[in-house]
């Protein structure tokens, strides 16, 4: 079944057993909604200097959006901001590829479990689900850093 290329075992696994779920202390909190389907996420980021020490979240939505948050947590927590941003860009590129990028080894090294989302990129209506938590992270980070900048200013 073609669908399986979208619903990879890995995605279903993250969906059923989300990593790092729950809201914990953070520097900034955002709430993002995917208006087309009602997927929601509340997400907090915690930075220690340039190091992303936690992404905590609560949400409801489809397997793709929920697995997305779980994978985001697993992949980015512990990373330096610059590296996290690079990973996010590669993931975005993959998701906007309309199924045209076949992840190579280099990409797999960057994205780890997140390469499982390659199949989702063929389904335009679902790309937004996959990106929901990533966009929330980006937004929360901007807020956290904006605050930090304001504090130091």
């Amino acid at each position: 079944m073609k669908l399986e290329s979208m619903y990879q075992e890995l995605i279903l696994d993250h969906y059923k057993h989300p990593r790092g779920r729950g809201l914990r202390d953070g520097d900034a909190e955002v709430h993002h909604v995917n208006p087309t389907c009602g997927d929601e996420i509340t997400l907090r980021v915690k930075y220690d200097g340039e190091t992303l020490t936690d992404i905590s979240y609560e949400g409801q939505g489809c397997s793709i959006s929920q697995a997305g948050a779980s994978i985001l947590n697993e992949l980015l927590v512990g990373k330096e901001l610059g590296e996290a941003r690079k990973i996010q860009e590669v993931f975005l590129e993959l998701m906007q590829s309309k199924g045209k990028i076949e992840p190579d080894e280099a990409m797999e090294e960057v994205l780890e479990d997140a390469v499982a989302f390659a199949g989702v990129s063929k389904y335009p209506a679902r790309v937004k689900c996959a990106l929901l938590s990533w966009m929330a992270w980006k937004d929360a980070t901007a807020q956290a850093l904006g605050d930090a900048e304001r504090k130091t200013a």
Binding site: K2, Y7, C37, G38, G61, C129
Partner: protein, 423 residues
């Protein structure tokens, strides 16, 4: 056709032959699966007869309407105005001049909201007045009233819903008061299928002198519609859900009102005479049809109305009722499935929303799609209903005159597969 023990004798069902009229139903998706189209509340498929009417219009008669003395202009005008006659007859309008062509139901609803905002007394909606709607409206019958309320200061009120998906009219005297200028509600809910009781609402509205606008977008395609029997002042619906083309909607309004109320869009066709200093407006319906109208689309809608009428709207309603009854019965047998809305086929249309355990509707829809089954998932432009029932979204299967019991069976099999997939 599937064996339907006891439940369906088949006598109310329309024949399978109808499917042959709809080219899209032969569409094959996902490597060889014939489409099972259960997204009719979103839009209907189009019969060959409607496509032929469109092609014939463009190939033989295309011209701009009105004001032309050449033969094409006269033919196009006759076809366009002939479509108005057909629609008027279809809804039993007292006069053809009460039928306004718009681009969709949303424009029809906005048109009324805007007219009332600009109207003189006694129609004028302003800070001292109220607007009444319901919690089960389509966004297209919510947002125009929110905008009107923001712009005029009028208070927006609404009827809530009962747990079984019906309007809660228990506080009707608080929702519709002496201050109410307009009551706007849907005849049939697009998300739950609920058929609403018009009589009580219309009676109360008339008591306080409020105008009544009925959103018949989910009714016109599926049951006989008689604007006089409804007792409303305005009725709105949309062409693409009733076998017609996209790009065409209808607003019916009572003649006196259309005479008294101000125009909405200004431009060609809607004027009587224009100078740089001032203009006067043509009588309705033209007063409300600025610019080149959706000519081909009106002609197509006329052909759709002919098509539906030839089959018979009560036959269509009976067919859908039988399918709905069967679908509800079979859905009730699916473990963990909860119907959002009326759980019997009484006073309901053929749109059935449900949630399946804690599997998100997006996932339900996606796995059904892979089997060739097209349902809609989400809030169906009726997010307040989802909020009311504490769910993020639903899966909705909606049927039409070409739907068959076999479609229901395919849906049930598909849902079984969904449960296994996420089990």
């Amino acid at each position: 056709m599937t064996q339907l023990p006891g439940l369906l004798t088949g006598s109310q069902l329309l024949g399978e032959a109808i499917r042959k009229d709809f080219p899209l139903l032969d569409r094959v998706v996902h490597d060889g699966k014939k489409i099972v189209y259960l997204d009719n509340a979103a839009t209907s498929q189009k019969p060959r007869q409607v496509l032929d009417a469109l092609n014939e219009y463009y190939e033989q008669h295309n011209a701009n309407v009105h004001r032309g003395v050449h033969v094409l202009a006269e033919e196009a005008t006759a076809l366009y105005e002939g479509a108005r006659d057909k629609v008027a007859a279809f809804i039993n309008a007292p006069s053809r001049n009460e039928v306004i062509f718009t681009k969709n139901a949303s424009e029809s609803l906005n048109l009324v909201a805007n007219m009332l905002g600009w109207a003189d007394e006694p129609y004028r909606v302003d800070r001292d007045t109220e607007i009444a709607i319901t919690e089960m409206e389509h966004h297209s019958n919510i947002v125009p009233w929110q905008l009107l309320s923001q712009r005029t200061g009028a208070k927006l009120k609404w009827f809530g819903l009962t747990d079984d998906g019906r309007l809660d009219l228990s506080n009707i005297e608080e929702v519709i008061t002496e201050k109410t200028k307009i009551v706007s509600f849907t005849l049939v809910s697009n998300i739950m299928g609920t058929v609403n009781p018009t009589e009580a609402i219309v009676r109360r509205a008339q008591e306080v002198g409020a105008l009544v606008l009925i959103d018949a977008s989910q009714a016109a395609p599926h049951m006989p519609l008689d604007v006089q029997a409804l007792g409303a002042d305005f009725v709105a619906f949309t062409g693409h859900k009733m076998c017609g083309p996209t790009g065409i909607g209808v607003l019916w309004g009572r003649q006196e009102l259309l005479e008294d109320l101000p125009p909405f869009l200004g431009g060609g066709e809607m004027i009587e005479t224009v100078s740089m200093h001032s203009s006067t407006y043509a009588p309705a319906p033209h007063k409300f049809e600025a610019g080149t109208p959706p000519i081909a689309q009106a002609v197509g809608l006329g052909a759709a109305v002919d098509y539906l009428t030839a089959i018979g709207m009560d036959k269509i309603a009976a067919h859908e009722h039988a399918i709905t009854e069967y679908a509800i019965k079979r859905l009730s047998e699916v473990p963990d499935l909860r119907i959002i809305g009326p759980t019997t086929a009484e006073d309901r249309g053929a749109a059935i929303s449900f949630v399946l355990g804690d599997i998100h509707p997006h996932d339900v829809g996606q796995v059904l799609d892979e089997q060739g089954i097209a349902v809609r998932v989400g809030h169906h432009c009726a997010r307040p209903v989802c909020l009311r029932y504490g769910i993020p979204a639903t899966t909705r299967a909606s049927f039409y005159l070409y739907s068959s019991p076999a479609d229901v069976d395919a849906l049930i099999d598909g849902l079984e597969h969904v449960r296994n997939f996420f089990g």
